[in-house]
Symmetry: C2
Subunit: 210 residues, 2 copies
């Protein structure tokens, strides 16, 4: 099980500060969609340059022109690129093909997918690397989480790694670990805490024991 730190509501210098504090305890650092839209892909490039030992995920949430966007993220030295599960099959396939060409990985974000089970099976057949259940900010705000969805994809996904994101904190991590995802994605649960380093260390320990 791996731990990914998601950075969303910060600028590039703030992102570097946070990663510096917790780099020993995480496997992947995610440059979130808002950062990329505000600052561009140079955010990905700069974080990868500063932390070459970490994998960097570019949360493009690609919806169209998928091969082109994956190519550009690859040029910015992303290791993993995200595409939306609600995107057309043609876009998903284009993203996978372009990622293979560049030695990169594709994570599909199931945010807002209505039939998680059916879509996860389809995506698994397209050869994506990660399938991620995700309760976004706007649905967390009305009290949703992704823990049941995680159990659903764990049941049907045969080849891809499974991931879970959305509002995971220290106190909900044990429930997440019980479902045995391959990747746990934490944002504010680390970045929004007073003691980021201690929290990340504790999470890593729980994940390694889980």
């Amino acid at each position: 099980m791996e731990l990914q730190l998601a950075l969303d509501l910060v600028n590039i210098p703030e992102a570097k500060e946070v990663v510096k504090e917790v780099e020993d305890y995480i496997d992947i650092v995610e440059i979130g969609t808002p950062i990329i839209k505000i600052e561009g892909l140079k955010a990905v490039k700069e974080i990868k340059e500063a932390f070459p030992n970490l994998q960097v995920l570019a949360d493009l949430k690609t919806m169209d022109a998928a091969a082109y966007e994956v190519q550009k993220a690859s040029e910015a030295n992303a290791d993993i690129v995200t595409i939306l599960g609600v995107a057309e099959d043609e876009s998903i396939k284009g993203a996978v093909e372009e990622a293979r060409k560049n030695g990169k990985k594709i994570l599909v974000d199931l945010i807002a997918v209505k039939d998680i089970e059916t879509r996860a099976k389809e995506l698994d057949e397209f050869g994506v690397d990660y399938i991620c259940v995700h309760t976004g900010y706007d649905m967390q705000a009305v009290g949703k989480n992704s823990f049941d969805d995680l159990k659903t994809i764990k049941r049907v996904v045969k080849n891809a790694k499974t991931a879970v994101a959305g509002g995971i904190k220290l106190d909900t991590l044990p429930e997440v670990i019980k479902a045995q995802p391959d990747l746990v994605i934490v944002g504010g649960g680390i970045a929004g805490q007073e003691d980021k380093k201690g929290t990340a260390a504790q999470m890593q320990q729980m994940i390694q024991q889980g």
Copy 2:
């Protein structure tokens, strides 16, 4: 009927060059999703500064954290911000509310929406400003277009303006005009032509007569 120039596969200086050529013939200039992801929202800000008389649309294709993304696009002086029709209702409502606060407009992109008719009716009730049928690059590549979808939304949308995007060129424009959308979005049909100025002028004339 208004004409929007969509810029996708160019950098900021190239975008300025193209807009300069055709600014007299278009109403709105769209900074496309790939430009924003590559260069950040400064692309929107710079184009609005260079062409204050044009409306600028930031094609964020927002999927989550909608109020935050609309706020950031507003700060970059976008006049119109896009959100995905496949996004959760909570995200759409958050985008509309934030846009109202800032005196901005929301265009919902129906790309990859399966039941166009039902979703367009729902979106219309949420108070969005534009509802846009859109065949993306990856579906144009397999021969699709949005002309039938345009007729569908024209039938059911009562309050929002209707828009159409995806592969529209000089020779398909008459068919589009016949369906009477409020906004016609053209990308490569202008930006990919040898004579951009002449093409835009001809399109504007057809639209004004249509």
